[in-house]
């Protein structure tokens, strides 16, 4: 786009565009003052510096987020014994036996800080959500870039944008009030709010993310690949399945990882729809508690400087690390894909 613009319109610049005309007039006015040049240079420098400093805000923000999260999170590591983050031995009141348990119950006279149920809960929601959303998201991407004619695409694309624009709290509320009933009726689950309800809600959020990235990647496949495949007599589906998809599979993998990062970080849907039971389970029909829901549910109520306060920041640090890593992987892959494709 950029390159085309640069080459294709050089000739046109000869006839003076009204904007350029206006610029010229403005110019003539400024040029009349003689001290303009020297003053101008200092001004230019100043402005460039100002813009540069502004552009650092994003990086500074990330650094500050990192610092403030980890500064408090690390304090949890120093005040709470490390083994406590895995689990603790507790004496069972009824059988009087000592058992090893993974418990997250950070209040009470003997608080327990096991991160295992929170991490397993997070993935029990995020993995199915990614699975569901990858299927539909890649399908949508293929539909938009390979099947739909331009007019149909113009019609279909706003739907994805619409889905992406729904606030997550609305999806959470919907899953809590209506969606959970449907799922309970279909699967006859004993937990009304469970990991699957959360996963379906979360997949609504990440389908548009995956679909739009997949579409971009497919669009960027060089025409030669397509043309070569058609020239060999392949049909459209054969071209897509055996030429295009293998060619841009890293890009699609990046889309899926990006979607998963979003799924792990999603908060309002899981806090409302997963039932919030901090248990270690692999049953998708049981209630679970994710890391995000734990922070959202508990941070508002802890005293600053208490162990629970630091433990919640530690949970936040873990969350930050996981999603940051996933973003990094996505960026890394996309960077390489961009070089190969024309993105």
């Amino acid at each position: 786009m950029e390159r085309e613009g640069r080459q294709g319109h050089k000739l046109q610049a000869l006839e003076v565009h009204p904007e350029a005309q206006r610029a010229q007039w403005a110019w003539a006015k400024i040029h009349r003052s003689r001290s303009f040049v020297r003053k101008g240079r200092a001004l230019e420098r100043g402005i460039e510096l100002f813009l540069f400093l502004n552009s650092l805000v994003a990086i500074v923000a990330i650094t500050l987020i990192f610092l403030f999260l980890f500064q408090e999170g690390v304090r949890a590591l120093t005040t709470i014994p490390l083994s406590q983050f895995i689990g603790v031995r507790v004496v069972d009141y009824f059988s009087n036996e000592e058992v090893f348990r993974y418990i997250w119950q950070p209040v009470g006279s003997s608080p327990k800080f096991s991160l295992i149920p929170l991490i397993s809960g997070t993935f029990l929601v995020a993995l199915p959500a990614t699975l569901i959303a990858s299927g539909f998201g890649i399908g949508c991407g293929l539909f938009l870039s390979e099947i739909a004619k331009p007019r149909l695409r113009e019609l279909a694309k706003p739907f994805l944008e619409l889905l992406a624009g729904i606030p997550t709290v609305v999806i959470g509320f919907f899953m809590l009030a209506i969606g959970a009933d449907w799922i309970q009726r279909i699967f006859h689950t004993s937990y009304r709010l469970n990991a699957l309800v959360g996963a379906i809600g979360v997949s609504c959020v990440i389908i548009p993310v995956i679909a739009s990235l997949v579409e971009d990647v497919l669009h960027a496949v060089p025409r030669e690949i397509r043309e070569a495949s058609y020239a060999l007599g392949a049909t459209r589906s054969q071209t897509v399945l055996f030429a295009i998809l293998p060619y841009c599979s890293p890009g699609i993998a990046a889309a899926v990882i990006l979607g998963m990062g979003r799924a792990i970080g999603e908060t309002m849907i899981v806090v409302m729809a997963t039932g919030n039971a901090a248990q270690v389970t692999f049953d998708i029909f049981k209630s679970v508690r994710t890391m995000t829901a734990t922070i959202a549910g508990e941070l508002g109520a802890v005293a600053q400087g208490s162990n629970e306060y630091y433990a919640l920041f530690l949970v936040g640090s873990v969350l930050f690390t996981i999603t940051f890593f996933m973003n990094f992987v996505t960026e890394f892959i996309l960077d390489r894909v961009r070089k190969r494709l024309r993105m």
């Binding site: 919030n276 039971a277 109520a301 005293a303």
Partner: protein, 298 residues
Amino acid sequence: MKAFIKMVLMSGVFFLGASMAQDGWASELVTVKGSDTMVIVAQRWAEEYMKKHPDATIQVTGGGSGTGIASLINGTTDLANASRPIKQEEIEAARRLGREPKEVKVAMDALGIVVHKDNPVERLSLRQLMGIYTGHVNNWKELGGKDLPIMRYSRESNSGTYLFFKEHVLKDMDYASDCQNLPGTAAVADAVAKDPKGIGYGGVAYFDRPNLKVIKVSKADDQKAIDPIDRSDLKRTKVHYDVVWSGEYPLARPLFVYSLRESAEIKRFLDWILSEEGQKIAAELGYIPINVAAVAGR
């Protein structure tokens, strides 16, 4: 460029105005924060009080008893609602800052145990409740009910209710890990109303709705089970005040408001809460008033 300047000017006006008016609002506003159990009544108190005194602004936020007291000590709220008494270390934290927390008992609350209307179980002892919530009793059959697994609904760990239940029923043991921690007592009520296998706990005030049954609780297996509900009124769930006042019902607790700073507005508000009018509102919402006159007048 002009748009930028306009925006900057606009935001400038905002901040200028805010700083100009700063002492204007600080004198009127009273912030109340704390217990989710009390947020219903606190909010109603604020609403009615502001109707009577249009010059006052009372701002109410929930968040849990711990939050309320912590904010009180940190200075971010004027009054703290608490469904548990203040802890010794909290008093000391306040003293270190040179302040003495003042306690006012504003009402009482009966913690109800609630099951679905279709559940045949009528009574549970504290030990049975402990068995259920620690994960040792897993089927209603063991308690004389149907052959169904028990779904445990609990509150979020920041609530005073959660702590009270943990201390008084679970004897400080841990909740079973499959307890679903819901963010509010209303959510517990909603969940149990939809789940014939469910059991939940919370302020009786929340359980005035169809499909729910508040059951009797006994202190020990062989003792008489006490019903916290006055069944003589069939139309609505009404708390049985006598069993709560006498201490017969094992799961009742006082509700407090704490303050550090003395001001005329705060005092006027607290006095009004304790007046007949304020207590009547508490009674209407299903709490147990401490001012007997408020009930006698009904």
